[in-house]
Symmetry: C2
Subunit: 310 residues, 2 copies
DNA sequence: CTGTTAGCGCCTTCAT
DNA sequence: ATGAAGGCGCTAACAG
């Protein structure tokens, strides 16, 4: 009788304090219940929030999450990927330092790999496993942010890009220029209102004086950390936000509402993204391209578009 | 000849794309190269910074880090611990929701466990492995923060504690009362200037009006997120920091310098803590108690103690 | 429905 | 200096 045996087994489990050995299971089945995630900076609120959502979702589904911080460094990223592969992760979630990701690192990995900040769908005909591209429309988002500033009357709109040479950053610069009416022929790097900085508070802080010197009345920052650094320095220099300068940022987080002033930003539907990601990563015959939806949230760092409030 | 064989082996590794299988190694040796870390909220900058430092240090030492977020929920924490044990982690770093940690969960775990926010040394005579207590002097730190406000002329100093019933929170309340001259007999919960809130931005935000109603000219917040929420709401209500109210917080992070105004806070020497932790966790005959050093950093959210600046 | 067996990839031990 | 064998704990396959 099954139930009797079952009871005996359960009793034994209880008595001996048995716990399944995941390493043995992984060795046998070849599939671990661990996912790997690589990101460039865990102290970036956008990324820590994303990691939290991903961990949450995959924990529900029975997976644990290995996390590693590349410190925005390509060499480190490479070592991390090697380690993750050795760890037999069941899948890899890769927020890469730069695009195109050094995809050859995972060429013969049979497990699925998701490229979180792909600019174009990752083409890997010879890949040993599924490759998923999360395609955020960085160009369109930057253009929309710029338009929001234009609609509020800003006339001298600067853009703070990421470190030079990063393709995602170039996409945003393109969007910014488009919204400013450029025909696409101009190299953003040569535009006087285009500055670059690391994706950090310090990066934003350091750019503030130059933007003010240039006479900007609006700035599109590449992420929330840059924007926070910008705002802090602009305030420290005695200028008012948004009266003197309006600020908007890419990749807003739930923290945005609590800065002073609160930060207007382009947000990503992370819940939706993570849901799709979990499906694409774990199930067969599912999409290998994910386009997260974006939405702008107006807060105090730029004037209200509603004329009645002006 | 060894070198020739070695070459052949290396060539084979290159050719076949061999990578060591960690699961097999773990199964055989019984020790994985993975550590587990449990924290209550990854979007808390103090914790994401700590995770970053820990990941950094242990990656150097050849370990990977499994991370799980308990969302400040005891039931979830318990499930996470079970999972971590199944994953055969080589050690567990546990920033628990509450104290005393439910230590019985890890009673027969042979791997070392570090309790990151212990109030008292964890006593586990029957534990199957090493147990490390990270003992932060929450009481002393809160007292020092309160004293800093007193020295700056604050006369009505409120304290925003964590959720009710948490022992770490009670320790801080004790320190606050001590600095206010209490003899220790008073129950902080009955003190009119003692409020409680979750360790979140919203928690701080929601407490702001009450502190202002109470006429506070100084507030000791339990963490940076609470302080940020407090400051945002106080500013939104038209009050000035530090002219009307001074704010100080426990567990400051590198972000503190970039809020508006910048936030005065008690910081932890995380580098030192993580170094000691790595030694205690991985080596034998090392301390099982770690006392991190704390230091106060004065920023714009409270008046300068230097009279010449007043 | 229950019990037995083989083998996942590695490392340690022992034999050549 | 190299090769061979055993076994870590689990699960899939198969036998009873």
């Amino acid at each position: 009788m099954a139930s009797k045996t079952r009871e005996r087994v359960l009793a034994a489990i209880e008595k001996t304090g048995y716990r399944p050995n995941n390493a043995a299971r992984t060795l046998l089945t070849g599939k671990s219940s661990t996912l790997g995630m690589v990101i460039p900076d865990l102290t970036n609120p956008f990324l820590s929030h994303m990691v939290q959502c991903i961990e949450d979702k995959f924990f529900e589904l029975g997976y644990s999450l290995l996390i590693a911080d590349s410190h925005d460094d390509l060499a480190r990223e490479k070592r991390i990927i090697e380690t993750m592969i050795s760890q037999q992760v069941a899948g890899l979630i890769w927020y890469s330092v730069d695009q195109p990701s050094p995809v050859e690192l995972v060429k013969d990995m049979r497990q699925p790999v998701a490229f979180m900040n792909a600019c174009y769908p990752v083409k890997m005909l010879d890949a040993a496993g599924k490759r998923i591209s999360v395609l955020e429309d960085e160009c369109g988002a930057a253009a929309e942010l710029t338009s929001e500033l234009i609609e509020r009357g800003c006339t001298t709109i600067g853009h703070l890009g990421g470190p030079k040479g990063r393709i995602n950053s170039a996409e945003r610069s393109r969007g910014w220029l488009q919204a400013l009416g450029d025909d696409g022929s101009r190299n953003p790097d040569s535009h006087p209102l285009h500055l670059t900085a690391p994706y950090t508070h310090e990066g934003g802080w350091d750019a503030a004086e130059e933007f003010l010197r240039l006479g900007c009345d609006g700035i599109v920052a590449s992420n929330e950390m840059q924007a926070v650094g910008l705002m802090a320095h602009i305030a420290a220099l005695g200028h008012r936000i948004p009266e003197d300068v309006s600020i908007v940022a890419m990749h807003g987080t739930p923290h945005a509402a609590f800065y002073v002033p609160s930060l207007s930003a382009m947000h990503i539907d992370i819940e939706g993204l993570v849901n799709k990601l979990s499906i694409s990563l774990l199930k067969k015959d599912t999409p290998d391209t994910i386009v997260p939806s974006l939405y702008f949230v107006e807060r105090a760092s730029c004037f209200s578009r509603d004329i009645s409030k002006c």
